[in-house]
Amino acid sequence: MNRFKAALRTPWFGALLAIVVLLAVNTIKDPGYLAIGTNQTTGMMSGNLLDILRISAPIIMISLGMTFVIATEGIDLSVGSMMAIGGAVAMQTLSSINQPSSVTAMLTAIGLALLLAFVLGTVNGILVAVVGLQPFITTLVMMMAARGIARVITGGQNTNARNGPFNQLATGQILGIPTGFVLAIGIVVLVALLMRRTALGLMIESIGINPHASRLAGIRPRPILIAVYALAAVLAAIGGLFTVAEVMTVNPSSTGNLMELDAILAVVIGGTSLAGGKFSILGSTAGALLIATLNKTVVFLGVPSAATPAFKGVVIIILVLLQSDRVRSLLKRRTKSPTTPSTPTAELESQEALA
């Protein structure tokens, strides 16, 4: 019971609960919703759940990077454009190499995409950490600049390419699980190890909570901030690779468009405060999965286009409200009031729940 209560209080629990509720609603609409089977024609495992996992891969990537930026009390509005950069470099490279089955071509494309994203992310970091510009302004400018660069790379056109191995990143499966998702989770685990096995995570949190105290304790904020923005850009570019690998085409204007908002939402749903400080990698990942589920649910339920943003907004608002301490304690009081009308003990208990 106690352990359950503890789980209830973790930030990602709400996200998981919301996913379960959405899946349940879908299952009510169609009892076969959760079924996973083998597609007779293609021989691949198929099912709605697998679709959700597959399209969650890019969202998980950008949310992961955004988590650390937000933990340092910053924000990165350029992740959506970084996805376009990743996609544009990869597609342009693959289309000029034009070897439809070459793994080397794929690796070259990935390497170049991540390299450019790393450089641009480092520029973000330097502007924030060394020059001292506001993260909001810096990354807003980068958001526009990076999309411009993506347009220059592709000559303003949609660029498509053929490369089997690259296409498999999104559409392949490993033991029935979408390759993109497996890779994304692998990267999440790697980054989590990097953060928690070294002191990087602690230092990021420390800087986010109290930059002055951290400086006096001998933490150098600059390299850490630069690293955080560079990491966010590289992860966003990986997200862009997953996205373009789906369709093997990049539209420099629309790829990753507005995805920074999804990333910020996923991070906040996952329990990392926009005011910086403690971060939750698990929470952000759960938040990203929730957004993927929500995107799919909207289509599955046939919510009209015009009402889609409102539907998403309502679900997220309910979730965020449920996470707020004040609403939680109000609900608690409400449920107790019929028997014990707001006694001091009830008050105390809810106070404890907050602590």
Binding site: R197, T198, A199, L200, L202, M203, E205, S206, I209, N210, H212, A213, S214, R215, L216, A217, G218, I219, R220, I224, G277, K278, A355
Partner: protein, 552 residues
């Protein structure tokens, strides 16, 4: 000292009368039933340490804060001030330390801002500038060209322009909040000339300054605040500096005298290489170039009022701020200490006076707070092994008796005293040679205070050099072997502790009117075996910080 006769006519009618005013902020009573009066034609100094309530009182008078209870009478009428505009309308003008003029506008535009002369087609600039010229002439600033850009003037002249601007509205009350903090001695004289002229014209002037000498040079009367309460109102000639300081810090004169140190005469041999030596270390606006030495195993106290430069000096020694002059040698070798990282690398740890903003990392656990500085020393790649962390945490939590005994609790949920103990643990975990403790006992309970004092003595015994800074002079006197005395952003002396040194004798050095007297007092005190060093410069004031930043 050039003091003109106080022109306060006995029984003259106060222009401003504050009666029993209280202002409460969440958790703090910033002003507690304070009464205060300001007479026309006087310069009235408002004195008190940072946090005493000076700024709050000014903000109440200028309508920035609304008062919770009590009343403010201006010219005999009760006024409800709702903002600077309504205060200005009531005849109260304020010139702040940070000059809030527009440097890109002309002198005349600045003076007349908001009061431009309007012609048939908008502002008549010719007449506006002419009007500005007359206003400036009244302040005997007729030589200034109203059309020159403000930025072409010196800071002092800009300050005078700011005052001129305040006088455009024919103010009856002029509040000067730290007006001299960025002026040199000559500029201060020019400013004072203007102030005296205004006083003679019948303007009531409220003067706030950290500089005692200036207060005694210009003020007719003094009101002292402490901890949000009124201590009293005095004529300048009735209150000497020692008395003023004791009123500001809240120890009465006799008890200060009685608190003699029982400490044995210090016998340390200081011919050896000091652990740390600073020569001519200074930073513009914070602390004048200063020499200071700390030996291994020695506790050196920094004594001085808040804003005297004691914190600023400690921050330079630790690398928290960058010095712009002078050099530091550590164990005889030149050390470039321009950042806390460099300070820690040279074995210097600095525990800040501002525990909440610069010390604790509130949401991190006690464990993480203790290991933070050590981890930073090791770098992010090499995480301090869990075993080592556990050992450190256990050692320091036990040694200082941190309550509750839960290393995973966020430090923000601990009491102030326990937070301080954890922070002490953080710095000791780095194994420093020199520990700078800035107000380590402020705002914590008696028990924790004694624990920390004991620890300081132990650490010195164990060979560590310690710099101890505290507003409580008794504490400094009790713990220190030597006391460096600071005032007005400079070191004014240094005494070696001994039975004849007391909190009171330190206060009398700080209170001494001029440098020579301070030196004399220190020498008398230290007699044969104590040394007094003094810093080089003779011009008194050249600083622009010492703001009332924390004085809410």
């Amino acid at each position: 000292m050039t003091k003109s006769s106080p022109s306060v006519a006995a029984g003259s009618h106060p222009i401003v009368e504050v009666k029993d005013v209280s202002i409460t902020f969440p958790g703090v009573k910033a002003l507690d039933r304070v009464s205060f009066r300001l007479l026309p034609g006087e310069v009235h100094a408002l004195m008190g340490e940072n946090g005493a309530g000076k700024s709050t009182l000014i903000k109440a008078l200028t309508g920035v804060y609304e008062i919770d209870s009590g009343s403010i009478l201006i010219d005999g009428r009760e006024r409800h001030l709702t903002g600077t505009a309504s205060a200005q309308e009531a005849g109260i003008s304020t010139v702040y330390q940070e000059i809030n003029l527009c440097p890109n506008l002309s002198v005349g535009e600045n003076v007349m801002l908001g009061h431009e002369v309007r012609g048939w087609a908008g502002i008549d600039w010719r007449r506006t500038h002419a009007e500005a010229r007359t206003v400036l002439a009244r302040m005997e600033l007729g030589h200034l060209d109203p059309r020159a850009p403000l930025s072409s003037l010196s800071i002092a002249m800009q300050q005078l322009v700011a005052i001129s601007r305040a006088m455009v509205t024919d103010s009856k009350v002029l509040i000067l909040d730290e007006p001299t903090s960025s002026l040199d001695a000559n500029e201060v004289e020019v400013l004072f000339g203007v102030v005296r002229r205004l006083r003679d014209q019948g303007v009531a002037i409220l003067f706030i300054s950290h500089f005692l000498d200036q207060v005694y040079a210009i003020a007719d009367r003094i009101t002292v605040l402490r901890n949000g309460q009124l201590v009293g109102e005095f004529l300048v000639q009735d209150l000497d500096r020692t008395q003023l300081i004791s009123k500001m810090i809240g120890k009465d004169f006799e008890s200060l005298k009685a608190l003699g140190s029982t400490r044995q005469k210090d016998m340390r041999d200081r011919s050896t290489t000091p652990l740390l030596a600073a020569a001519g270390l200074g930073r513009k606006g914070a602390i004048d170039p200063t020499d200071v030495e700390v030996h291994a195993g020695e506790v050196v106290g920094f004594a001085g009022l808040l804003g005297s430069g004691r914190t600023e000096l400690a921050r330079l020694l630790a690398g928290a701020d960058k010095a712009d002059s002078g050099a530091i040698t550590v164990k005889g070798e030149k050390a470039g200490i321009g950042s806390p990282v460099a300070g820690l690398a040279h074995g210097i740890a600095y525990s800040t006076e501002n525990r909440r903003d610069d010390g604790i990392v509130a949401d991190l656990s006690v464990r993480e707070n203790i290991m933070l500085a050590l981890q930073a020393r090791r770098g992010w790649m090499r995480r301090v092994p869990a075993k080592e962390v556990d050992k450190l945490v256990q050692t320091y939590m036990q040694r200082f008796g941190v309550r509750p005994n839960d290393p995973d609790r966020p430090i923000g949920l601990l009491s102030g005293g326990n937070q301080q103990k954890v922070l002490l643990g953080r710095w000791l975990a780095t194994g420093p040679d020199l520990l700078l403790l800035d107000e380590p006992t402020r705002g914590i309970d008696v028990g924790a205070k004694a624990d920390i004092q004991e620890t300081v003595a132990e650490l010195a015994e164990g060979g560590m050099g310690v710099v101890f800074i505290s507003s409580e002079l008794e504490e400094v006197v009790r713990l220190s072997e030597r006391i460096v005395i600071l005032k007005d952003h400079r070191k004014i002396g240094e005494v070696v502790n001994g039975p004849e040194v007391s909190a009171q004798s330190v206060v009398s050095i700080i209170a001494a009117e001029s440098e020579e007297l301070a030196e004399q007092a220190a020498q008398e005190l230290a007699s044969s075996d104590s040394t007094t060093t003094d810093t080089t410069t003779t011009d008194t004031t050249n600083a622009d910080s010492a703001s009332d930043g924390r004085d809410s």
